[in-house]
Symmetry: D2
Subunit: 461 residues, 4 copies
C-alpha cells in the first residue's frame, strides 16, 4: 500500500524513470548487494539461511541480466528496484530483507562510485595503450625532422619523436587525473542509509573491503549527497579529450595537401558522397570535435549541484547519463587515437623540406652573437634587421656575403664560417642541448623516461 | 568501387556512424527528397518517369520507416545513405539519380533545419499550454495573498495571480526566442551541393516553397557550414529551461513543510524506498535539474564550432544528439510543468499567514511619510529605526502607541490613524496601483493582456 | 539610522560592493533619473520646483562624472547610491525625493536594460563595418580562385569573393541576433518598485517614451527578476564570437607558410622575443581565442539564474561584469577583424596553384557522366576507381588517354574532349551555376544581395 | 630594429597587450629571473659580475614594483618586457643578457606555474580556516536537533554538528584537489626556450630547486604549450565554489522566516534601499551565485585549448584573467563563508520544533517491524498505509491506539510500547548507530576524525 491515491502521470514516469539508462549499473548493484547480504548475516541482522537464499537469488538474477533474458517490467523505475523485484520473485519474500539497513540513496551513490572507479580504470588502460603507440612511433621516427611551430609559424626544427612525446606527457598527466578521480570515488557511501545512518549495527569496513574501497565515507549526510567523484572523473575526461582534440586538430592539419606531413590509414578515413577523389580524416575530426561534448557534460553536472541544499535531491539523478556518455566517448576516442597514431604514415620528405626553411635558423644566429658577447636583446635586433633585408631582397640568409653581413653589424662579419654553419638545419636541431630539448641525446633520455613512466603506471593500477 | 584499399576499422565505424541517432531525421529526409525529385524533373534534369519512379519508391520507403519494418543494413552509415540504398533496392537503378545535384552536405543541413523548425514549433505549442495553465490558475487565485520575497526574505505581499503571471511573461518571451530560432532555420541550404553550388540549373525557390522555407541560403559555402540555427534553438531551450528551473525550485520550496504554500498532485510526486511517510516533489526537482543539461548541450555545440575552418567538417555531426536531447527534454519538461501547475493545490491559509507578517508594511509607512512631505531617504531612516526598536522590544509595529511613535519622529505621530491602517495587508496590496503592480485592478488588466498575448501567438504560429 | 548594530565586515564589503564595476552605468542612471523626476512632477508626486532642483543637480553630477572629478566616497556601495548621495550634497535634501516611487531593484534593472540596448547597437555598428570590409574585399577579389575545403581537404574551387561573403552572411545573422536582444531589452522595468509596484499613480509610459523603450514590462515581479535580455545579448555575442573564431582560425591557417594564401598587415602582427624572423598573427589568434571567453560569460549567467526563486536576489549582481566584459571584448574583436580583413594581402598565385589541383575536378567528371544518363551513384563509383588508378600510377587525371578511360568505363571514353575540358579549374568554377553557387554570375548576384542587406540594417537601426 | 615596417594598430595593442592584467605576476617574474641569472653564472654562460649586476638591478626593480613607483611605459606589452626594459635602464646593457637561454614562452609558463602554486596554497589555507570554523561550530552545537531533508522534505532528524560536518568533508576533499593542482604545476617549464630547448648547457635542476619545483618538465614542446595545471586549479576552484554555493543556498534558506533556523551576523547582512525592515543575506546569496562564474572560467580555458595545435599560440594568453579572477573570488568566498559560519546564530527552538515532526519517525516504525522479522518491503507498505490513514484522519501517528494499529497489521499491535517510544525524536536520532551516522557517539568519533584531518593538512602543506 502506498500513501498516494492517484497513479503517477505517464509523463511524470517518462521524466522520472531512470531504468532506460541506469540499467548498465547492474553488475555493480549485484556486487554491492552480495557484499551487503554477507555483512548483514555477519552482524546477525539476517540469518545465514536468509543470506544464502539472497546470494543464490542474486546469482540467478545476475545470470538473467548477463544473458539478456532479465524480464524488465512496466513498473520498474530503476535498475535497483528491478533487481529487488526480480530477486523477490525468484527467491521469495526473503528478497525483501535485502533492503534492510540500506536506502536507495546510499545504494545509488555506491553503484555510481563503483562505476566511476571502473571507468577510471578503463580510461587509464586506454591511455596506456595510446601512450605505448606514441612511444613506439617516436622510437621509429627518432631523427625525422619537422618544423616546430609557434603561432602556426615555423619557429624551430624538432624531431618527430620529440613532437610525439609531447602528447605522451599530456596523457601521462591524464592518467594521474583518472587515478585521482578513482581515489575520490574510493570512500564507500553504503551504510549511510537515507541520510542519517541506519538503526543497525552494521559493519561498513567489511563491505568496503569486499568492494575494494580503501575507506568508508565518514559522514552519512555527505555520503548520500556527494557526487564530487563524478565531477573529478568528468574533469579528467574533459582535460583528456581536450588533449585529444589538439592531437586530432594536428592530424587534420598534417593530412592536408598543404602540410602533407602524414597520411592517415584508410581504415580510419572516409570518402565523400559526391566527390570521388576525397579521402577525409573523419576520425581525426571527431577526435577534435568531442572535447566540447565532454566539457558540456562536466558543466551540466556542476550546474545540477549548484545551490542544491543537502542531502539527497532527485536532481542527482542527472549524474548518470553524462558520466556514461563521457566514459563511452572517451574510451572510443582513445582507441581511435591509438589506431590513427599506430597507422599514420609520415612523409619524411615533406617534413624535412618544411624544416629546412632557412629563416628558422635566425635565432641561432642571434645565439651565436650572444656567445660572442653581445647582449641578447641587441643580437635579436641585429638579426631582425637582417631578416627584413633578406625578405626585401628576396635572398636567403645564407646568400648574404660576409661583406654584406658586415654592413649590418661588424659582429656578424666576425662570425665568419660559423654564420653559414648555423644556418644548416642539423646544427639548429643538435644545438638544443638543454634537458628536455630536441637534440638527439636529449630525446633519447626522454624516451627512456617515457618508457619508465609507462611501465610505472601499469604496475600501480 | 572506392578509392580505399582497407576496410574501415570497427572502432572507426563506431565513432563515425550516425545512424544510431540520425534515423529520427527520416520524415524530413523523405520530404526533402520528394521536393528535390520534383524540382529535378521540373528543370528537366531527370525525366518525369524517373521522378515518378522516385516518388513511388519514396512512398514505399516511408511506409516501411513508419511501420518500423525498414530493413536497416550493417553498412548503413547514416539515415540518408540507408534511405537511398533502400530506394535503389525498391525502385531500381533510378534510385541513384536522386543524389543528382545534391550532396550529403546540403542534404544533412536541410534535414537539420527542417527538424529544428519542427521542434521549435512543438516548443511553442508546449509553451502555449503551460501559459494557458498558468493563466487559468491565476484567474482562479486572483486575490489570494502571499508574500513577495526578495533575497528570500518576505518583502511585500502580492496576489498569487500576480506571481503566477510572472512566469507567464517569461514563457511568452521564450516563445519569441523559438520563433526567432525558426526564422533562422528558415533559409534553405539544399542546392548548395558539397560547398560550391551544383553544375545544374536547379530551382531552389521551388524546393523552398514546397518545404515551407521563406528564403534560400544565399551563399553555398555558408549554407553547408552553418549550424547557427541549432545554436539559436539551443539558446532558446536553455533560457526556457532556466525559467522552468526557477519554477521547479519554487515548487520544491513551496511544497516544504516550512513554507507549506502548495501541495503537488500525487500524480507528479514520488514516495521513498525507505521512508514510508515521504511525498517527494521529484518532478519539480527534475524541472530544476534539467536546465544545466540543456545549457551543456548549447556550450558543447559552441565548442564544436569554435575555430572550425570552413566549409563542412565532420565535427558538425556533433550537432544532432544535443539538439535531439534538448528538444525531447524541453518538451517533456513543459508537459510536466503544465501538469504540476494545473494540479497544484495552494494553501490560502498558509500563504495569507505569511503575507500578514506586519514588518512587510514598513515600506508603506515610509511611503506615507513621503506623501506627507518627507524626503524618501529620511523616511526610510525613520522607519528603519522604528523596526529596530520594535524587534528589540519584541512588539509589533501596530502595538506601538502614538506617543511612542512621536518619540521616534514627530512626523510619525502626525500620521494618526493612517499609520495603523497602513499596517493591514489589504492596504499594502491595494496601495500598489502603478501599472504592472499588484493592486487587483492592475492584475485584472494584466490578465487581459496575458489572454491577448496567449491568443496572438496561436494565430501567428 | 539603520536596523543594524554591527558595521559590515570589510570582506563583506569587498564581496558586496559593486561600485568597482557598475560605475560605468552612470550615463544610464542619470538618464533614467531625469526621466523619473520629470514623470514624478508630471504626476504631481513631487513639485515642479523639486523637479527642477533635481534636474539641475543631476546636470552637476553628470558634469563631474563626465569630467572624472566625481568624488566617490568610501561608503558608496554602488553607482546608484553614489549618484544619489552626491545629488543630495549638491542639491540639498530634495535629492532624497528622487527615490520616491522607485527601488534599487527596478532602477538597476532599468540601467542594465539601457546598457544592453546601447551595446547591442554598438555591436550592430561594428558588425556593419566588418561586413562592409568583407564586401569591399570580395568585390576586389571577385574572380580570384582558391580551393574550397571540406574536412580541410581540397574539395572544389571557389572564388575568394564567394568565400569572404560566407562570413558576411554569418555576421548579417548576428546583427539579427543583436536586434532581437535589443527588442528583448525594450520593456521598461522602471516603476516595478521593489517587486510589487509602487504606491503612487506613476506614468510608466511617459518614462518609457523618454528613454526610448517600446513597451513597459507588464508584471512588476518579473520586471525586477528578469535578466533574460542579458542572456540574449550574451548569446548573440557568443555566437558572433564563434564566427569570428572561425575567421581568426582561417587567417592563422592561411598565414602559415604551408598555405601562404595571405599575409596579414604588419599593423596587426607581432614579432617574437627570441626568434627575430617571426611574424606572428597574434591578432588572428586572439580572435580565435576569445569565443570561449564569451561563452563562459553566457554560461555563468545561466548558472546564476538557475533555480533562483523570485523575485530579486543579490545573485543578480553577477549579471554585470560578464556583460561589460563581453561587450568590450566583442567590439574590440570586431574592430580587429575589420582591420585584418581590410589590410590582408592575398596571394593570387598561391591560391590559384592550390585550386589547380586536378583531383578537385573529379566531381565534375561524375556530373558529366550523369548528364550523359548514368545514375549518380554509379558515376561516383566509376570516378572513384579512376582516382585510385591515377594515384597508384602517379599520373594526373588529364594524362589518362581516351583508351585508358575506356578501360574504366565505356561511358568515360564517350565523353571525348569534354572530359579534358572539365578538368580545367575555370570550367569547374563556372559550372556551379545554381543560385548561391560560385559561378561568377551567381557571385555577382550575391554581392548585390549583400550590398542591399548591409544598407537595409543601417536604415533600420 | 624590427622586421616590421608599420607600427602596430592601437586596437591591436588593446587586444594584445596583457600588462593590464599580467602585472600581478611580477613577484614570480623577479623570482624566476634571479634563479635564472644565478644558473647562467653557475654554468658560465654569463660572468659572475654580470650575474651580480643583474641581481642588483632586479633588487632595484623589485623595490619599485613593491612600492608602486615602477615607471610603466607606453610600449610595455607585458610585465616581462616591462621588467626587462626597466632592468636595462637601471643596470645598463647587461640587462639584455638576462634573456639568454630563455624565451618568453617558457618564462610566461613558469610565472603562471609559480602563481598557480601560490594560489593553490592560499586556497588550502582559506579552506583550513573555514573547516576549523565548521568544526568549532559543530562542537558547540553537538546535540542540537534539526531535520535532515531529502527532496527538501523533512526526512530524518540529525544533529546540527553532523550537518555542519558534511560541509567539512566536502572542503577536505577540495583541499586534496588543490594539492593535486599544485603537484601538476610542479614541473618547471623554464629551460624549454621557445619550444625546442636552448643552445646552452643550462642546469634546469638548479633553477627548479631554487624555485621549489619538485621536477623539471621533461619535454620542451609540451612545457611551453601546457596549461593543464591551470585547468586543474580552475576545476578545483569550481568544485569548491559549487560546495560553497550549496552552503550559501542553505544559509539563505535557513535565514528565511519560514525556516528560521539561523540568523546571519549583521556584519554579513545588508539592508534594503526601499524596505526599512529588511535584513538580507547578501553574502550568502553571493556565495550561492559565484560558482557559475568560476565554472565559466574553467569552461573558457578548456575552450581556448580545444583543437589548438602545438606549441605556443597567442591564444594561451587567455589563461591568466580567468585564473586571477577565480583565485580572487574563491579566496574572498572562503573568508566570507568563514565569517558567516563563525557568526551565525542558530535557533535551537525552531530547529527542534521542525525536527519533532512525528512523521519523521515513520521509518523507524518500519525498521522496528523488520527487527520483529517482517521483510523490509512489507514493513514499508504497512507503514505507508498507516501514514495515509493518519493524514486522512488528521491525527498524529502517536495518537493511534493499539487497537487501531492492529487493524492495519497485527504486527504493529505486537510492537506494544516500543511503537510509541520509536516516535520520540531522541530515539530516532540515537537509533542511527552505524559508522558515520547521527547518533551522538558516532558524531563524536567523526569530530575526532575531522580534527585529525584538519591538522594533517596543516603539517603537510
Amino acid at each position: 500500500m502506498s500513501r498516494f491515491r492517484e497513479p503517477q502521470h505517464p509523463d511524470f514516469q517518462r521524466l522520472n524513470v531512470s531504468l532506460g539508462f541506469d540499467r548498465r549499473l547492474w553488475p555493480f548493484d549485484i556486487a554491492q548487494s552480495r557484499a551487503h547480504a554477507r555483512m548483514l548475516a555477519a552482524r546477525e541482522i539476517i540469518t545465514a539461511a536468509d543470506r544464502d537464499a539472497l546470494l543464490h537469488g542474486l546469482d540467478a538474477v545476475e545470470a538473467e541480466l548477463a544473458a539478456g533474458s532479465f524480464p524488465f517490467g512496466e513498473g520498474d523505475e530503476d535498475i535497483h528496484m528491478a533487481i529487488e523485484r526480480r530477486l523477490t520473485e525468484l527467491a521469495g519474500p526473503v528478497g525483501g530483507r535485502l533492503h534492510t539497513a540500506r536506502s536507495r540513496n546510499d545504494q545509488v551513490a555506491t553503484d555510481v562510485a563503483l562505476y566511476t572507479r571502473d571507468r577510471a580504470r578503463l580510461a587509464r588502460e586506454g591511455l596506456g595503450e595510446l601512450m605505448a603507440a606514441l612511444l613506439a612511433r617516436a622510437e621509429e621516427h627518432l631523427d625525422w625532422q619537422l618544423p616546430g611551430y609557434t603561432h602556426l609559424q615555423r619557429a624551430q626544427p624538432v624531431y618527430l619523436s620529440h613532437h610525439l612525446l609531447a602528447y605522451f606527457w599530456m596523457l601521462a598527466r591524464d592518467r594521474e587525473r583518472f587515478a585521482f578521480a578513482a581515489r575520490q570515488a574510493g570512500r564507500l557511501p553504503l551504510g549511510a542509509g537515507a541520510l542519517a545512518g541506519v538503526s543497525f549495527a552494521t559493519d561498513r569496513d567489511m563491505v568496503a573491503a569486499e568492494l575494494d574501497f580503501p575507506e568508508v565515507a565518514p559522514n552519512s549526510i555527505d555520503a548520500v549527497s556527494n557526487r564530487d567523484f563524478v565531477l573529478d572523473y568528468l574533469s579528467a575526461a574533459a582535460t583528456c579529450a581536450t588533449h585529444l582534440s589538439r592531437l586530432g586538430a594536428e592530424l587534420v592539419l598534417w593530412s592536408s595537401e598543404e602540410f602533407g606531413f602524414c597520411e592517415l590509414p584508410d581504415a580510419w578515413s572516409a570518402g565523400s558522397s559526391i566527390m570521388p577523389q576525397k579521402k577525409n580524416p573523419d576520425a581525426a575530426e571527431l577526435l577534435r570535435a568531442k572535447a566540447p561534448r565532454l566539457l558540456g557534460r562536466l558543466t551540466a553536472l556542476h550546474g545540477v549541484l549548484h545551490a542544491l541544499p543537502l542531502t539527497y535531491n532527485k536532481d542527482l539523478q542527472e549524474d548518470k547519463e553524462g558520466l556514461f556518455d563521457a566514459a563511452d566517448t572517451l574510451e572510443l576516442e582513445l582507441r581511435a587515437a591509438t589506431g590513427m597514431i599506430a597507422g599514420a604514415r609520415f612523409s619524411r620528405e615533406r617534413m624535412r623540406a618544411a624544416a629546412g626553411d632557412e629563416l628558422i635558423g635566425a635565432t641561432d644566429i642571434a645565439d651565436l652573437l650572444v656567445a660572442h658577447g653581445m647582449p641578447f636583446r641587441e643580437a635579436h635586433g641585429v638579426v631582425a634587421g637582417l631578416v627584413r633585408a633578406s625578405l626585401d631582397q628576396g635572398r636567403s640568409l645564407s646568400q648574404l656575403t660576409p661583406a654584406e653581413l658586415g654592413q649590418h653589424s661588424p659582429a656578424l662579419a666576425e662570425l665568419g664560417e660559423s654564420y653559414y654553419a648555423a644556418l644548416r638545419p642539423e646544427s639548429w636541431l643538435e644545438s638544443k642541448v638543454s634537458v628536455g630539448g630536441t637534440a638527439l641525446a636529449r630525446v633519447r633520455e626522454q624516451l627512456q623516461l617515457a618508457r619508465h613512466a609507462l611501465d610505472a603506471d601499469v604496475t600501480d593500477s
